[in-house]
């Protein structure tokens, strides 16, 4: 093998440059930290955090450790991302299909929605919902009940909590239903491929998922009761609902604006995907006698999904990253709890910012790995 200066030279130079820059940074960091008397280390994670968080999914108060605070923030981030992804997908698919509608009004309405929400900064939308729109809601004592059990007030949404008896039996029945559905889907696909017979999989699935839990109620001894939120007076003019589940207004504003904003991008992905299927495909499918529904289900969607999924993955990633804007309206997510409060208290800038960034990197990688796996599963299997 020849030693080529032409090949080695540029690489060596680049590496030296990168190493120099990093070396410069680390050297300065060391000097600066020595001067300020800060020591580097992750030991603070096990110390007592001594600050409270308004809203957390796991048990937490000031006596828990910083690591616990980190977990609280992470779980809150994941919660709002999952809610956002769920609603953004539903809304995005509906709007995307509506943009392809032959109905002029629906088409324009969807286009208006997309152009409107896409061109306004997300942060502005979050502020709008949180500071302007949700502030117009009634006070707890004036709120009217929705369906008699839920209350949407300026202090958040209060919904009834479920109180289960023998919850595990109910849980097993759901698992059993899901397994049965997977088996039936597999069988139906086999039947379709070998004999060309169609099975109403969707109907059977819905039936199963309704019937099996119902049986668990009838004979399994599962009981369900509701704990309805009740108005409670704290002071002469201050009321709050107690009991049930309360969703803070920050969560509502954030999830709402994230889904409305991201749905516009998902809608565009869906539209591009369906438009990407050639007319010939649909005509060919129709000419072998498939009904319009079958054309959509068996011919158009499987192909369109291949075009839709990669850009939609990007949008999911963006949504997860955008959920960090929560810090602006004091929703206790990872950035606010950990990179905000914890950083102020400990002063461990490098450690905390690096942990936060690393967490987001891992979240992004996890989502993209999952979506890559799904994408590979539905990709064309070339023989």
């Amino acid at each position: 093998m020849n030693f080529k200066l032409k090949d080695i030279g540029p690489q060596l130079m680049t590496v030296i440059a990168v190493v120099l820059v990093f070396g410069f940074f680390t050297y300065n960091a060391q000097v600066n930290m020595e001067n300020r008397g800060i020591d580097f280390g992750y030991g603070f994670l096990s110390q007592e955090s001594s600050f409270d968080v308004q809203f957390s999914l796991i048990e937490y108060d000031g006596s828990h450790s910083y690591f616990r605070a980190y977990l609280v923030g992470l779980l809150n981030t994941i919660l709002v991302s999952v809610i956002g992804i769920f609603f953004a997908t539903i809304l995005g698919v509906i709007v995307g299909i509506a943009r392809l509608s032959s109905n002029y009004l629906i088409n324009k309405f969807a286009a208006f929605y997309v152009e409107f929400f896409r061109n306004i900064p997300l942060l502005l939308q979050i502020f709008f919902w949180y500071f302007a729109a949700l502030r117009a809601l009634p006070l707890p004592q004036d709120a009217e009940a929705m369906f008699g059990v839920a209350f949407l007030t300026i202090k958040g949404l209060f919904v009834p909590a479920f109180i289960w008896q023998n919850f595990n039996i109910f849980f097993y029945s759901i698992i059993a239903a899901i397994i049965a559905i997977i088996v039936i889907r597999y069988q139906a696909k086999k039947l379709q491929e070998t004999q060309g017979k169609q099975t109403p999989v969707l109907l059977i699935s819905i039936g199963l998922i309704l019937v099996l839990p119902l049986i668990s109620f009838l004979i399994g001894g599962v009981r369900l009761s509701f704990e309805v939120p009740v108005l409670k007076q704290l002071a002469t003019t201050s009321f709050i609902y107690e009991g049930g589940v309360s969703l803070p207004p920050e969560l509502i504003a954030l999830a709402l604006s994230l889904s409305l904003y991201t749905a516009t991008f998902i809608a565009e992905c869906v539209r591009a995907g369906i438009q990407g299927i050639g007319k010939g495909q649909k005509e060919a499918a129709a000419s072998i006698g498939l009904t319009p529904n079958q054309v959509l289900k068996l011919v158009v969607m499987p192909q369109a999904l291949r075009i839709i999924i990669p850009p939609t993955t990007n949008q999911y990633l963006n949504l997860t990253k955008n959920s960090s804007l929560a810090a602006a309206i004091a929703y206790p997510d990872l950035v606010l709890v950990f990179a905000g409060t914890a950083l102020m208290q400990t002063g461990k800038a490098i450690e905390i910012v690096s942990i936060t960034m690393f967490t987001y990197l891992s979240l992004s990688i996890a989502i993209s790995l999952f979506m890559n796996w799904y994408n590979n599963k539905i990709a064309i299997q070339e023989k």
């Binding site: 540029p10 590496v15 032959s102 002029y104 009004l105 061109n119 302007a132 950035v335 800038a349 936060t356």
Partner: protein, 480 residues
């Protein structure tokens, strides 16, 4: 069987159905219209539940009656084709018509009819509509931030001058067209930089960073004359050495003094804000993120594995983290990495952070364009004896960039929409100023007006950008 279809219009009794259907349809629309505009309820005598749904039912029956294939009447066919193809579409169309009719009066009255425009105190805002007086009173803060009122002509003058200089491209004759790229890539940003430096700041704004900018621009200009073979080494070594040279040997105190013009006060960057700051940040980030992104796109496609891995690492790192943590990093972590006497203004730190962040996205977009080019283009260029840089500058990049205009426009749009995030480091552009104004005790309760105002401004900017990029895409579209 024909009995079942007795309500279905056909040719023989077309007009009966047509009149009946149109009548019902108009009744339903009229009912909603009167209800929402004049608060009259035509069907008030009915039970409230029925009265609520009656327009929908009437309209649906009306549309059902007039649905016929090819009646020969032009307008009717148009309606049937566009909004009335089947029952489902008919209901959706009706709902949308009703929603539009219902939402026009409240929106109109909030925006104009009940809104207050006059006066300049809170007392005039007694109506139920918007209080535009609030915007009127605060407009200078929303536009210029805390920039002193007496000095705001400096921002106006700079922006007008830069807009005029930016439009040079439209008036250039063919003779000067070939210099346009050089102008926009090097000269125009430099002029803009000088304007910000001398005019808007009127004092030291970029501090140590300004040597860097001058070094970079000088080295790019000289770089045009360096043979392609040495260009890589050149760009690795020369800018940095120029920087050192500028900072420690040639000017030291002089350059800081240089920023001060006689008679202009120094306005520090902490006082900048409002919409003008949005523009300044977007402008510089656009200018910086593009070449950086291009460099990393080329790096990711490079044949040298080490350069490729470094580029991949850079791109994936920035793409994996949210901008807000990047800004956190620039605010609290970055100063730790620099020597204690080395000071960078926080506006500049912000611009660097946003540029690096967006550069990763630009790099991915440009990589898409590079990958879409057929191999033949590379081979043809090589066979003409072009080196790496010549090939990329004259053959590959012009074609690749043309392909990715929509993607780059989207990235730039995202950049403009991300600028409000600089509130993290305490800089207040328009959204930040709104939040500040909202908490002023004399003007409590006008959050809605402020956000609507900012939303309209951002919407116009972003929509104009996306339309412009669409025009650009059409203009440079070539058949291949």
């Amino acid at each position: 069987m024909s009995k079942i279809n007795f309500l279905k219009p056909d040719k023989s009794n077309l007009y009966t159905f047509l009149y009946l259907g149109t009548f019902l349809f108009f009744i339903s629309v009229l009912d909603v219209l009167l209800n929402s505009f004049f608060n009259l309820n035509l069907t008030g005598f009915l039970p409230s539940f029925l009265s609520y749904f009656l327009p929908l039912i009437l309209g649906f029956i009306g549309l059902y009656f007039i649905r016929i294939e090819l009646s020969g009447i032009k307008q009717l066919d148009l309606i049937n084709k566009h909004i009335n193809t089947n029952n489902f579409n008919a209901i959706l169309s009706l709902l949308i018509i009703f929603i539009i009719l219902k939402s026009i009066p409240p929106i109109l009255s909030w925006f104009f009819i009940d809104a207050s425009f006059a006066g300049d105190t809170k007392d005039v805002c007694t109506g139920t509509g918007a209080c535009w007086t609030y915007i009127k009173v605060w407009i200078r803060r929303f536009m210029y931030g805390m920039y002193p009122n007496g000095e705001q002509w400096r921002i106006n003058l700079s922006f007008i001058a830069l807009a005029l200089l930016g439009s040079v491209g439209y008036f250039a004759t063919d003779k000067f067209k070939k210099y346009l790229t050089l102008y926009y890539v090097v000269i125009y940003p430099f002029i803009a930089f000088l304007f910000i430096f001398f005019f808007i700041s009127g004092g030291p704004v970029f501090f140590d960073f300004s040597y860097g900018i001058i070094a970079a621009i000088l080295s790019i200009i000289i770089g045009f004359f360096i043979p392609s073979k040495f260009k890589f080494y050149y760009f690795l070594i020369v800018p940095f050495s120029l920087y050192i040279l500028l900072k420690y040997f040639i000017f030291y105190e002089e350059l800081i003094e240089l920023g001060k013009l006689d008679g202009l006060n120094w306005v520090e960057t902490g006082a900048w804000g409002g919409l003008s700051l949005t523009f300044i940040i977007s402008f510089f980030c656009l200018i910086f993120c593009f070449p950086i992104g291009m460099a990393f796109a080329l790096g990711r496609r490079s044949g040298f594995p080490l350069i490729r891995y470094i580029s991949i690492g850079f791109i994936e790192f920035w793409r994996g983290v949210p901008l807000i943590t990047v800004l956190f990093m620039s605010a609290v972590m970055f100063p730790m990495f620099l020597p204690a006497d080395f000071f960078i203004d926080k506006l500049v730190r912000c611009i660097i952070a946003i540029s690096l962040f967006e550069a990763a996205y630009v790099a991915e977009v440009i990589r898409g364009g590079l990958q879409a080019l057929p191999r033949g283009q590379y081979e043809a260029a090589k066979s003409l004896g072009m080196g790496y840089w010549k090939m990329h500058i004259f053959v590959i990049l012009p074609q690749a960039l043309k392909l990715v205009i929509p993607g780059i426009a989207n990235t730039f749009l995202a950049l403009v929409k991300d600028t409000p995030l600089i509130f993290v480091v305490g800089l207040l552009e328009i959204v930040g100023m709104l939040n500040l104004a909202k908490t002023n005790p004399e003007w409590l309760g006008f959050a809605m007006e402020g956000y609507v105002f900012a939303a309209i401004i951002f919407w116009i900017i972003c929509y104009a950008m996306s339309k412009y990029s669409y025009n650009l895409e059409q203009k440079y579209k070539t058949d291949r």
